[in-house]
């Protein structure tokens, strides 16, 4: 199935965006997010970008105060996911211009739309930034 969830969490451990591709109850989510964040926050720059947690492998990347974490299974290529995170960030950057945590907070719906255009059912749908952003521009015009 590939990608199981995508999380954006800041340094304080506050979730800024959460998208799951399998159903977890709210308690399970809370617990999982807490555990993962605790694991990733304590890691240093010199450590690798992969953390194994329960049945998931977490591929994460840090941008300023914000951590992007993607939970995957064994059907994914870790480095490809690592760069996919960067693609998400570049796409947001193109839309918001110098994207920051606040953009994602206050434009949660747009962040969701973008992700929706990029990942579906745990698989990558689209990697062209202009194709991803077309429907969002459509919304802005509406």
């Amino acid at each position: 199935m590939g990608i199981r969830f995508i999380l954006m969490v800041n340094k304080q451990g506050q979730t800024r965006l959460a998208q799951y591709y399998e159903y977890l109850t709210i308690e399970e989510r809370r617990a999982l997010e807490g555990e993962i964040v605790r694991k990733c926050l304590t890691r240093t720059e010199q450590q690798c970008s992969f953390v194994e947690h329960r049945k998931y492998k977490i591929v994460y990347r840090r941008y300023a105060s914000l951590f992007f974490m993607v939970g995957i299974d064994n059907e994914e290529n870790e480095l490809a996911i690592l760069e996919f995170i960067h693609l998400v960030v570049e796409t947001m950057d193109r839309h918001f211009g110098n994207v920051c945590e606040l953009d994602i907070m206050f434009h949660l719906e747009k962040a969701h739309f973008m992700l929706e255009e990029m990942v579906m059912n745990g698989c990558i749908v689209e990697t062209s930034k202009s194709s991803i952003l077309t429907p969002i521009q459509l919304m802005d015009r509406a």
Binding site: M105, M120, N121, E126, T127, D140
Partner: protein, 1019 residues
């Protein structure tokens, strides 16, 4: 802007952001939820815009981790809104909040279907995405044909078709019985001709699922995949938008190669050639570049190519290239690459014939086991586990054991389990297996599951040769001051069954065995008490003729537990009590346990269970399934392995006191072991006799050092020590058979180790002997690490301890052979009987090729190891000092030729010993008052007080007064401190050993001291 229109939402998000703590956040959220709930109740007045705003708030609250159990209907109802912004919100929020089994979803099926089949492609996309994310069975039933149609429709634009592909993937995966894909191979092949890379990317995911399910139907797609790869790798017709840092869609490349891994082989030679050309280009052409993103992307492709080569390259054309690359990767600085290198190496283990190449990297992999990054450590552990076989099991398991003490708590259970499994599967001999498991329990008892100790009991029970050895080891562990409860269980069980095999050894008569086990009873839980009761019953049965005292003790215990609240214990107590009164009649009932039926190790099963979640293609799992435990058959393989069975080694142990009685006792043991080795299945093993012959005479005649020691008594300690040291000084030079020169100074290494607890004791070109010691009160555990530095085995290894009379030393079994590059651990247990400065000597010899090396090494089990710092207050010190009024309990000496050092340095030196310096007790700042506790069996814990008076004008001399409750201790401690304080503590510089005598306090400063009080107390 959509959100700028939703001011209420922005305000709410700001409020949340400004909440100083979680409590405030919860209050704010509760308030908002109340607000939204009331609004939804009066729904009639709500516009779509308002609904949209509230629904977003709900999603936001849900994301923060609060349950939102209402408003689902409102979200779903937005799906049927006519305008795009509302509809979009409805779709996205519904997909986030609900799961496929939610009732409300059913209500929306019609609206969703209308959007799917409608003309508005934006709406189509929204609907397909929702179904693709949460669509369940009912969606599959009503929508699958429509979705399939959209996917292959030529009139549909790519943006719809790529979503249709993944939507179909979900419906198919969830309901393969409903979604009919028969005859889809042609359509899939057609799809793969698509030029649009978005459609290709999602179609490839769909293909992976279809091929994984039934690759035979999709052969036709294989060449198409290779074409796509060729197109991408040549960068043919790839739009700029799909090029990522100069690399044509790395994600599609990766996915395509993943799809190819679901085909077992590639039969068509042309396709195969084209593919291998592409792979070769990737393998050769991927360079490390500065740009991180480009580097990652190109390596993502490279790792996928490696995986594909491993999968397809049955002819091994490119395999060596892959192993070489991986070998390079596991040693690079970049942690991601190191991690993936290890992971892929583990995968590679499945490919036959490469294990040997991988083994060349064993050292690097073991280094990774100590990586600061736990992710990498885990990969290294998995890889080591996977690559372990008979040839490297000892090395790997010992590494794992070593790592166990420092490993993260989260890894310890897995680590113990893996070490236990490897030890069992690949044990070169079973005694080693027993050693490993006991060490495991000792080091990480909390993480050793019952299965592990059950298994060792099974194996011991099923292998008669092993029983005496296991019993010896169990007995040894019981001597440790604090042992884990699991160790109590396993030791008690083994000793209950087999302690009678040891009866003639010192400390192993039934009474002693019983006492040492019974010591542990107050600290253990009920389940262990039950085992202990069985052990007592067995000990009683084995004691023939019966020992009435022991019998009464044990009966009293049974009697006590007859009223235990725990039913199991109660029942055992009652039954054992009755049975044991039947005397001889109980022998049959209490007889040794019969052999267990041979069965698969429960551990392997457990390992399979714990790995159920991890990689399906996990090499470990596969190998675990392929190889059932061979531990049970190892006994028959001794000759082949060249490891002599244990029982023959049982003699490399030296009695601590050379009395006639003890000698004859040891002869007894020799006999007992001799008998045992006859039982051994091997008809002839020369080492049996050789060892017996060698040890016999040694035991009786004793080496010169030991003989000398037997003569001197406690008081004549210094002469004894001198003697030993003289022999030592001569040994390396005088012994002309030693062609091998030691590396480094033996004397310096010894001096170092007197102050440290771990380090190297001896090293020469062939062997390194390391030491690690732990001291607790008058007990000590010294681990000797005998490391073979060569690629050839060291043979005829012999270790003999020549202990001084005040130390009781037991050396566990030393194997006769140390395999190449292996390290053998030999624990030495030491008990300090009384104060003495005599030194124990290790007489160590081995053969390497034609060189016979024999060295005599002083063991750093010296007086100060039995000291523990203690601080005393003035109220404690003075009465004590006063009560120890003079010789022989209080001795004074003037020490000359002191190493020049400042008072602080001297205080430091004392602290290392370790003695506690109590500043302020002596009013004279030039004096030091020092205290310590000395532990020995005879003196128990004894407080020692020392006063050092220095002369600031002449640092080379000082006056020292030592007091303790034991005359020997006072003398020995004083002499010890003197040795440490004079410049080089060697034999030549040692002051003549005069009988302890009191020197009058003639120091002119003494009485004029401001510390008149102390001085007055000196006599």
């Amino acid at each position: 802007m959509a959100l700028s229109g939703m001011r209420g939402l922005s305000v709410f998000i700001s409020d949340i952001r400004n909440c100083p703590n979680k409590e405030q956040e919860r209050l704010r959220v509760d308030k908002e939820l109340g607000n939204v709930r009331t609004r939804f109740k009066n729904e009639k007045g709500l516009t779509h815009y308002e609904k949209k705003k509230y629904v977003w708030k709900m999603l936001y609250i849900y994301m923060l981790g609060y349950d939102v159990d209402f408003g689902h209907m409102e979200a779903v109802s937005l799906i049927s809104a006519p305008k795009y912004p509302e509809k979009q919100v409805g779709y996205i929020v519904t997909a986030c909040l609900l799961n496929e089994n939610h009732d409300f979803l059913r209500l929306a099926i019609n609206a969703i279907r209308n959007d799917v089949i409608g003309r508005n492609e934006t709406f189509q996309c929204l609907a397909l995405t929702l179904v693709g994310n949460i669509g369940g069975r009912e969606f599959a039933e009503s929508l699958a044909p429509d979705v399939q149609k959209l996917l292959i429709s030529s009139s549909c634009r790519p943006l719809v078709r790529k979503k249709a592909a993944l939507c179909l993937l979900r419906l198919y995966r969830k309901n393969p019985d409903v979604v009919i894909v028969d005859g889809w191979s042609d359509r899939m092949a057609q799809l793969l001709d698509e030029r649009d890379l978005g459609v290709l990317t999602s179609s490839m995911s769909l293909l992976v699922a279809l091929v994984a399910n039934n690759h035979n139907a999709y052969w036709i797609c294989l060449p198409k995949c290779v074409k796509i790869l060729e197109r991408l790798s040549r960068n043919n017709d790839v739009p700029q938008e799909y090029t990522y840092y100069g690399i044509p869609s790395p994600w599609l490349q990766v996915k395509t190669m993943r799809a190819l891994q679901y085909f077992p082989t590639i039969e068509d030679p042309n396709t195969r050639r084209s593919l291998f050309e592409v792979l070769q280009r990737i393998l050769m052409g991927t360079d490390v570049v500065k740009n991180v993103n480009k580097n990652n992307a190109s390596h993502a492709v490279l790792f996928e190519a490696l995986a594909l080569v491993m999968h397809l390259d049955a002819e091994k054309e490119m395999m060596s290239q892959c192993v070489a690359l991986l070998g390079k990767f596991i040693a690079v600085r970049e942690p991601n690459i190191r991690y993936l290198g290890l992971e892929n190496m583990t995968r590679m283990l499945m490919v036959s014939d490469v294990q040997d190449i991988i083994k060349r990297h064993q050292a690097q992999i073991i280094t990774s086991l100590k990586d600061p990054d736990i992710s990498i450590r885990r990969r290294a552990l998995d890889l080591l586990y996977g690559m372990c076989d008979v040839s490297n099991a000892k090395d790997i398991v010992e590494e794992l054991l070593q790592y166990l003490s420092t490993a993260d708590f989260t890894m310890r259970e897995e680590l113990s389990l893996k070490a236990a499994i490897l030890a069992e599967k690949f044990a070169p001999d079973l005694s080693w297996y027993v050693d490993v498991i006991l060490q495991l329990i000792d080091k990480a008892g909390d993480f050793v599951s019952d299965d592990i100790w059950f298994r060792v009991v099974q194996i011991v029970t099923n292998n008669e040769d092993l029983q005496p050895y296991a019993a010896v080891k169990a007995r040894e562990y019981l001597d440790k001051p604090a042992i884990h409860e699991t160790m109590v269980k396993v030791s008690a069980y083994i000793l209950g069954e087999y302690s009678h095999l040891l009866a003639k050894r010192p400390g192993c008569n039934p009474q002693e065995i019983f006492s040492i086990i019974h010591e542990k009873l107050p600290t253990v839980s009920n389940s262990t008490i039950a085992i202990l009761l069985s052990t007592y019953a067995k000990i009683l049965m084995h004691t023939q003729p019966p020992d009435p005292q022991l019998q009464n003790q044990i009966w009293a215990i049974f009697h006590k537990y007859e009223s235990c609240i725990d039913a199991e214990i109660q029942q055992r107590a009652v039954e054992y009590f009755t049975l044991s009164r039947k005397g001889a009649a109980s022998v049959d009932i209490m007889a040794e346990m019969p052999k267990f039926p041979e069965r698969q190790s429960a551990l392997l099963k457990k390992a399979e269970d714990t790995e159920a979640d991890t990689a399906e293609q996990s090499a470990i799992k596969l190998r675990a399934q392929q190889q059932t435990s061979n531990a049970l058959v190892v006994t028959d393989q001794h000759p082949a392995n060249g490891y002599p069975p244990v029982s023959q080694l049982g003699l490399v142990k030296v009695p601590s006191i050379s009395t006639v009685d003890r000698n004859s006792e040891d002869q007894g043991v020799t006999q007992a072991n001799g008998t045992l080795s006859v039982v051994d299945p091997q008809p002839l093993e020369p080492s049996v006799d050789v060892l017996g012959d060698l040890l016999g005479p040694l035991r009786i005649d004793g080496p010169p050092g030991a003989a000398a020691q037997s003569d001197h008594n406690l008081i004549s300690g210094p002469e004894g020590a001198t003697y030993v040291e003289e022999t030592l000084a001569l040994a390396p030079v005088g012994d002309q058979t030693n062609n091998v020169q030691p590396i480094g100074s033996i004397a310096e290494r010894f001096q170092d180790l007197c102050l440290k607890d771990s380090g190297v004791l001896y090293e020469d070109p062939y062997i390194q002997i390391g030491i690690k010691a732990e001291w607790r009160a008058h007990h000590g555990l010294l681990l000797l690490f005998l490391g073979n530095k060569n690629t050839a085995p060291l043979v005829s290894v012999q270790a003999l301890i020549l202990p001084p009379s005040h130390l009781k030393i037991e050396l566990s079994l030393v194997p006769e052979t140390i395999p190449p590059r292996a390290q053998v651990q030999c624990p030495l247990e030491i008990i300090n009987l009384g104060p003495s400065r005599d030194v124990a000597v290790l007489d160590f010899s081995y053969k390497f090729g034609t060189d016979v090396v024999n060295v005599k090494l002083r063991l750093p089990a010296v007086l100060n190891k039995f000291l523990q710092p203690i601080s005393v207050s003035a109220e404690e010190f003075f009465p004590q000092w006063r009560s120890l009024s003079g010789p022989p309990l209080k001795l004074q000496d003037v020490v000359r030729g002191v190493r020049p050092m400042s008072l602080a340095e001297m205080a430091n030196l004392f602290t290392i010993f370790p003695l506690t310096v109590s500043p302020g007790l002596d009013p004279n700042a030039n004096n030091l008052v020092v205290s310590t506790t000395f532990y020995s069996e005879r003196t128990r814990a004894m407080l020692c007080l020392v006063r050092i008076e220095t002369d600031p004008a002449d640092r080379t001399q000082l006056r020292m007064t030592v007091a303790s409750g034991d005359p020997t201790l006072t003398f020995e401690l004083k002499e010890f401190l003197k040795e440490q304080l004079v410049s080089i503590p060697t034999i030549s510089q040692r002051p003549a050993t005069a009988p302890p005598q009191v020197q009058p306090t003639t120091s002119p400063t003494a009485l004029s001291d401001p510390g008149a009080m102390l001085a007055g107390l000196l006599h």
